[in-house]
């Protein structure tokens, strides 16, 4: 069975904007999604956090939309909306009653084509404060909250596009001036650097007609500077970091560089991660939480982070049970990870992992918003939205031999990054 049983229609405007329509008349709702091919991987040193802060500024008004009106128009139409930034891209999306499709396209076009004249110092200063509070609330004020911020620079060398986390440094944000942000928009927020997807209760002809009406006159940008290259040199040995802080128990993260999202190697890595660490049927849970009782039953697992422009991270983590030293937990994790190379994956393990990936795929595309975002992702990354239909088979066709092969290749102890958190009192 295909993993995407809905139509996928595409069209490209003269200015390069790619438009995807995926009709589904099951409910009178549409999802509108824009993927801009710009993320924190494009940020040079000294400008970390800019792509994300910029995402905030996109809600602060444009030539024909007053400050905060973007939100109030969409919500006033009964819609919900948001945006996210990650290393690869920035996405903007809204789901709303189908009769308001035109409003959403008008708003998105206005901020694609007319943000710069509306950008002010006051808006920049205000959103900078909001982002600082976001960082405190999500990363700094939470036990283990900064693990991702610490792992990235250990996994990727300075100058690599994934070296720094998307939230960025507060120093860089403080130093940012208005002109830099205006230039950021001019450089990256162009129709030929974006994909517009509409999923739900709208016919493709209507979507194209409205896309042309609102986006058609926006000029394309001639030269869009690419992000730094994502290639990696051969890892120069294992790396470790220990952090002592306000955490309730030791926690260990092992991390490896796998393959870029979208490659056959990454599909195999995804299956590997599910066998190793997805749920209570997984090897990590069975052996360390249930069997040897080294790890707490929560927060034990492994997963790949779906990044496409360089070998994506595979992360394995567990938290020690009371009285278990971090070193014992680490040794246990290392042993179970090594078993992926030495002990063949059984049919039952493979079947379980594939059933989990299958149901999580269906959950992802069960909402119109999830469906539109997934189409935008495959269109932006691979210029091939129809590849969404093949993702499920990409996982299902992975064999036990293939998992062992990929395990032997990526779970190399000389390329391992180990991050350990220790509670203050045991220091």
């Amino acid at each position: 069975m295909t993993g995407f049983p809905w139509p996928i229609e595409t069209s490209t405007l003269d200015n390069g904007l790619r438009v995807i329509a995926s009709p589904d008349h099951g409910a009178p709702v549409v999802a509108v999604n824009l993927w801009y091919d710009v993320g924190s991987r494009h940020e040079p040193a000294g400008q970390t956090g800019f792509a994300h802060l910029f995402e905030h500024l996109m809600f602060e008004g444009s030539v024909h939309v007053g400050k905060t009106e973007h939100m109030s128009y969409v919500q006033g139409a009964g819609g919900s909306l948001n945006a996210t930034t990650n290393p690869d891209r920035t996405n903007y999306f809204e789901t709303l009653p189908a009769e308001h499709l035109e409003l959403a396209l008008w708003l998105e076009a206005d901020r694609m084509g007319g943000l710069v004249p509306a950008l002010t110092q006051e808006k920049l200063d205000n959103q900078r404060e909001v982002v600082k509070n976001e960082r405190r609330q999500r990363y700094d004020n939470v036990p283990y909250g900064d693990a991702w911020l610490r792992l990235l620079p250990l996994l990727y060398p300075p100058g690599h596009p994934y070296h720094h986390a998307t939230i960025g440094s507060m120093e860089d944000l403080n130093a940012a001036d208005l002109q830099t942000f205006k230039d950021f928009h001019t450089t990256y927020y162009a129709p030929n650097n974006a994909v517009l997807t509409v999923a739900g209760d709208a016919e493709p002809e209507r979507v194209y007609e409205l896309a042309k009406k609102y986006f058609g006159q926006l000029p394309p940008r001639e030269h869009i500077p690419p992000a730094p290259e994502g290639g990696l040199p051969k890892a120069g040995g294992a790396v470790r970091q220990e952090v002592t802080g306000a955490v309730p128990a030791p926690r260990v993260y092992l991390s490896y560089r796998s393959h870029p999202f979208g490659s056959p190697g990454y599909d195999a890595t995804t299956v590997l991660a599910a066998v190793l660490g997805s749920g209570r049927g997984s090897r990590l849970f069975q052996r360390l939480a249930d069997g040897r009782r080294l790890a707490q039953p929560d927060n034990i697992g492994s997963y790949g982070v779906d990044l496409a422009h360089a070998p994506a991270p595979l992360i394995v983590s567990a938290t020690a049970r009371p009285g278990v030293p971090a070193a014992d937990l680490e040794a246990g994790l290392v042993e179970v990870v090594a078993s992926m190379v030495t002990e063949p994956v059984t049919d039952a393990e493979l079947e379980r992992a594939k059933a989990l990936l299958t149901s999580s795929w269906w959950r992802q595309v069960s909402t119109l918003g999830g469906r539109a975002d997934t189409l935008g992702r495959y269109a932006t990354l691979f210029r091939a939205p129809e590849r969404v239909a093949a993702q499920l088979d990409g996982w299902r066709s992975v064999t036990a031999e293939r998992v062992a092969e990929v395990a032997a290749e990526i779970l190399d102890e000389d390329a391992r990054v180990t991050l350990t958190y220790l509670p203050e009192e045991s220091a």
């Binding site: 139409a77 035109e102 404060e129 004020n141 849970f285 707490q296």
Partner: protein, 437 residues
């Protein structure tokens, strides 16, 4: 580019999906709805659980799937995962809720496993010991998190000795629970009478009812039903200041009176709350986030429980702007309580409320959650249409009256968790402050 705001297309009607319902001879009510979006099925089983021993009930909900006479915890989980599924249980002061989903092709197996656990959960000693430590650790971890501590302080302040006043047990109380107590509590309280099973997915409703009857028709056991006394209304008093030395943020929490879903004022109150702070485009969010940058994600919402409803106002703000944030919050509450809202902002809130209903009901998971929640109040899906009609009809005068009655800052219970040495002085310039004991 076209510069004018586009005109609206005609509004499309909310079509309620057909639901089928059957009460089994053992007393279990099953409600099924077809939503054919993806080949999954959503499962929600709501079992009334008020006035249960808090530590035992909490540990029961966490240990329910840890083994039966014939299956270990890992076998249950692995079997569920083989149909792409998962089930878990959660507790609040009203009910135990088992929720999960899986591939629709695996519904029979999913329900068999659910029945296996409902009729034969064994609470094996070693597994209970594991879950006990895990829960105790979670409670200890929560004790280091400001959002949790602020919530605990607010509940205690609002509900006092009512069962809603304490919703998280102490770690030590959890550590004292024995497996035999869990088996006794299970026998006494986990029975089909009064319970509601909701199934939403890509299958005909009648077929879903048959599958449920086949799997769960043998679930039995009498047991007692408990009833909660009505919850007290928030009683205003001095601001309660809970000290958290060195905190980089203060957690501001307020509680205001509210009414249940079926009350004639409910639609107007919901709209008044939206205008105040209940969504992004509200006065309060615009003020303290968009204008002043005091906070990242403030929210206010009406919370419904079976013994009463309450409106809560929540914001985490930088320490140095704690008093200014309280000032703006009181100002926005007072402004709406004293002056009627504009026609335009009421219309915007109304469209948002109606759209949210529509969007929420458009996915399998959203619909299942809504149905299960409604069922806890004796309501069915047709309430969605009735509520939509009330939202559509609420007048400006009704919303102004609801704001005056329920959003008046004079009626608020206020709690602040933060660095008392830094925020105590500025706060006491605005209101009477009582340090927490």
């Amino acid at each position: 580019m076209t510069h004018v705001l586009p005109a609206l297309g005609p509004a499309r009607k909310l079509k309620l999906p057909r639901q089928a319902e059957r009460t089994l001879p053992n007393g279990l009510t099953v409600v099924a709805v077809r939503r054919a979006a993806v080949p999954l099925v959503e499962v929600r089983l709501r079992v009334p659980f008020p006035r249960a021993h808090l530590a035992r009930a909490s540990l029961l909900s966490q240990s329910l799937f840890t083994g039966t006479a014939g299956m270990s915890t890992v076998e249950i989980a692995a079997e569920l995962q083989t149909v792409g599924g998962a089930l878990s249980a959660g507790l609040d002061p009203d009910r135990l809720l088992i929720s999960g989903n899986g591939l629709v092709s695996g519904l029979d197996r999913l329900l068999e496993l659910l029945a296996e656990v409902l009729t034969g959960a064994a609470y094996p000693g070693d597994e209970v010991a594991t879950e006990r430590e895990r829960l105790a650790d979670q409670i200890q971890l929560a004790g280091s998190q400001p959002q949790h501590l602020a919530r605990v302080a607010l509940l205690k302040r609002v509900y006092g000795n009512h069962p809603y006043g304490v919703q998280t047990p102490e770690a030590e109380q959890v550590r004292a629970v024995r497996p035999a107590q869990l088996r006794a509590l299970h026998g006494e309280r986990l029975h089909p009478g009064g319970s509601v099973l909701v199934l939403v997915g890509d299958l005909p409703p009648e077929k879903a009812l048959d599958a449920a009857e086949k799997a769960l028709g043998g679930w039995n056991g009498g047991g007692k039903q408990a009833v909660l006394p009505p919850a007290p209304e928030p009683r205003p008093g001095p601001l309660l200041l809970v000290d958290r030395p060195g905190a980089v943020q203060s957690s501001l929490r307020m509680a205001l009176p509210a009414v249940p879903r079926t009350h004639p004022d409910h639609a107007a109150l919901q709209l008044a709350n939206l205008i105040f702070g209940g969504y992004f485009s509200s006065r309060w969010v615009e003020n303290i986030r968009e204008d002043k940058g005091y906070t990242y994600g403030p929210n206010s919402l009406v919370e419904h429980a079976s013994a009463g409803s309450v409106l809560t106002v929540n914001a985490d703000v930088a320490t140095e702007v704690t008093a200014p944030a309280l000032l703006e919050t009181q100002y926005e509450l007072g402004r709406l309580a004293a002056l009627p809202p504009d026609e335009a902002e009421l219309e915007q809130a109304r469209q948002y409320a109606l759209g949210t209903l529509l969007l929420g009901a458009s996915t399998q998971a959203g619909l299942a959650g809504l149905l299960s929640t409604y069922a806890g109040f004796g309501l069915r899906l047709d309430f969605l249409a009735e509520h939509a009609a009330r939202l559509a009809a609420a007048t400006r005068a009704e919303v102004a009256a609801a704001a005056a009655r329920y959003l008046a800052p004079a009626r608020a219970v206020t709690v602040v968790l933060g660095d008392a040495e830094k925020v105590g002085g500025p706060l006491s310039a605005l209101t009477a402050v009582e340090p927490a004991a």
